[in-house]
Every structure is written in C-alpha cells, then in structure tokens.
Amino acid sequence: MLDAQAPEESAAGEPSAVPEAGSAGREALRGQGRIFEVFRQERKGQPFQHAGTVDAPDERFAEIYAREQYGRRQESVALWVVPREAVTEIDEFPDEFEMKYRRVDGYSIKARLHEARERAGTLDMAPGGDAAA
C-alpha cells in the first residue's frame, strides 16, 4: 500500500533512504516480509497458547525464528506458526437485548442470595462465612 505513493510519502516524512519504490526493494531493505503468529504448547496435552509473533521473509525463516525465540529454552514442546493473514479476527458481538441467560455460567444468584440471607437474619450461617459476599 505504501509503495503506490512512495515519492509523495518520502516528501511527507518517510525516510528518504528508501531506494526502490518496488515492494521487493523495501522488503530487502527491512529484511522482513510477513508477520507470523506463534502459539506454543508448554506440555503435551495442554492447549496451545499465543506466545507472540515473528517477523520473517517467508515460512522457512519464520520457522527458524520461532524455534529460536519460543523453543530454545525448552519452554515449549510444540509450536504452531501461522501467517497472520490466515487468522480471521472477529471482534464485534452485539448484545442489544442483554440476553445474559444464554451465558454458560447462567444467572448470577450471589447478590440475591445475600439479600435473602440478610432478610432471614442468617447471614453468619452461610457456608464459609458469607460476610464478604
């Protein structure tokens, strides 16, 4: 995207040392190409968790860089290395009607239980001493 308007952008404060407008030129200059998301598994059977990213020219470099950054201290038994563009992000969740009953954790009855115990004067009999609730 930057490449299309490289000359104007240079004038607008881009470092003027950028040699060629072509993307290959920029890539070579920065020595990087794509962002890869790295997930690591700490022990066999455990879920993979996001570890961070590597910035690499291609998959082969990404694999080596991920190995060196997230695996060399025996902190992982396996890694997933995924090009960022392969990840679909969903970040909009409309909840116009506050349909909390659909949540897997169900209704929150903690506050209502507390009120009921207060009314009945049995607050101190609650399991584990409900005083903090």
Partner: protein, 223 residues
C-alpha cells in the same frame, strides 16, 4: 597430548572461536529476528565448546574454563576459517554454511567412533547442529535467489574455500568439496588448504577481548 585430546581441543576451539565471531553480530544483524536467531546459534556453539572442553579437561586434569580462557593465543587449535573477522553478511553466511557443512562431515565420522564419550557427544551436538544447518541452507537459498546475492555468496565462498578445506583432515576433504560443488553447481579450484596450527592475525585481537575479564582478576578468583 594424546590424539584424542588434540581432536577435542581442535573441535572445542573451532566452536568457541566461531561462536565468538558470530556473536559479534549481536545487536547489528540485518534485522531484529535474525539478530536473535544468529545470537542464539552463536551461544549454542559456545555451549558445544564447553562440553568438548569438559571431556578434554577430564583427561588433562584441568577445567573447561582454564582451557577456554587461560591458554596463550598460539596454543589454540582452531582452524583459521573461524578466526577470520569478516563482518560482512555474505561472508558471514558463507563461512557459517561452509563450517556447518564441514562440521557435519566431521561429526558424522565421529558418531561412528569407538570412543563412546566422543561418539555420544558428537551425536548430541549433531542434533542441535541440524538446526544451524537449516538456518545456513535457508540463507544460501535466499542469497542464491538473486543475482547480487548469488554473486556475493560465490565471491565469499571463493575467498574462504582454502580455509574451509583446512577445517577437516585430509581424508574428509573430498566429501566437503563434493557437497559444496554440488550445492553451488560449479567446480571449485584446487587449492592448498589453510591448515590448523597457523593462526590468523585477527585471533590475537579476539583473544585480548575474550580473556580481558579473566586476566584482570587475581589468580584463583572465585566468581
């Protein structure tokens, strides 16, 4: 000094000095990810050196630290290939690749050794060196993919070729030649190897820096 100790020290010194040279890229590599990866590889080499020194130290009745840091520069058994200071990326990659290729041939021979300790350590090192080789091969591909990169790599290989031959004993050299020629798709000149035993001038500067802390402390200091 036994032939065994001599072999262990030659390999250990190669790994220590190359690790040291490669670590000179820490903080100034072409880009950050490569900086991390190359520094990590450098550290692995120094780790290999330590394991090799320990085997030699057990035989000589000394310690790995004393072998690594308390000898005079001329006592090192490193190959001149690893001593050269070539802070230029194509040469660094050429040396890295030539060394890893030679080292693989050497380790392969040692894995078949009757000496269990040496064969075991060679196998262990080889499992880690495998990733150094992947890294080196990947860069060779990357440089060969463009005209300028290919020209620079080939020039660097030409310059370093006599040194690369010097890493190995006579009987292993033909295999190194065959592999390098096949990879580059061309014949390499018949040249006299630059053997172990003579040192490059740059080793003195490296040694001065490498041992400066060690030499600054009174003998027998505990760290």
């Amino acid at each position: 000094m036994s032939k065994r100790t001599d072999l262990l020290l030659a390999m250990a010194d190669d790994e220590l000095i190359l690790g040291w040279r490669n670590s000179e890229w820490t903080g100034i590599a072409p880009f950050l990810e490569e900086d991390v990866a190359f520094s990590s590889i450098a550290q692995n080499e120094i780790g290999h050196a330590r394991a090799l020194y320990e085997l030699a130290a057990a035989e000589l009745g000394t310690t790995a630290d004393e072998l690594a840091f308390d000898r005079e520069p001329e006592e090192y058994r490193s190959a001149p290939l690893v001593e050269l200071r070539r802070l230029e990326w194509a040469r660094t990659i050429a040396r890295h690749w030539l060394y890893e290729t030679a080292d693989q041939i050497r380790l392969h021979a040692l894995k078949a050794s009757d000496d269990e300790a040496i064969a075991g350590l060679a196998a262990k090192m080889d499992r880690e060196e495998a990733y150094h080789r992947i890294h080196a091969e990947m860069w060779v591909d990357r440089l060969l993919a463009t005209e300028e990169g290919g020209a620079r790599l080939n020039d660097a290989v030409d310059e370093l070729w006599p040194y690369a031959l010097g890493v190995l004993d006579d009987e292993l050299r033909p295999e190194l030649r065959a592999r390098v020629e096949e990879r580059l798709g061309r014949k390499l000149p018949e040249v006299a190897p630059v053997p172990r035993g003579v040192h490059e001038a740059e080793l003195q500067d490296l040694w001065n820096e490498m041992t400066v802390v060690r030499r600054s402390a009174p003998p027998g200091s505990q760290w």
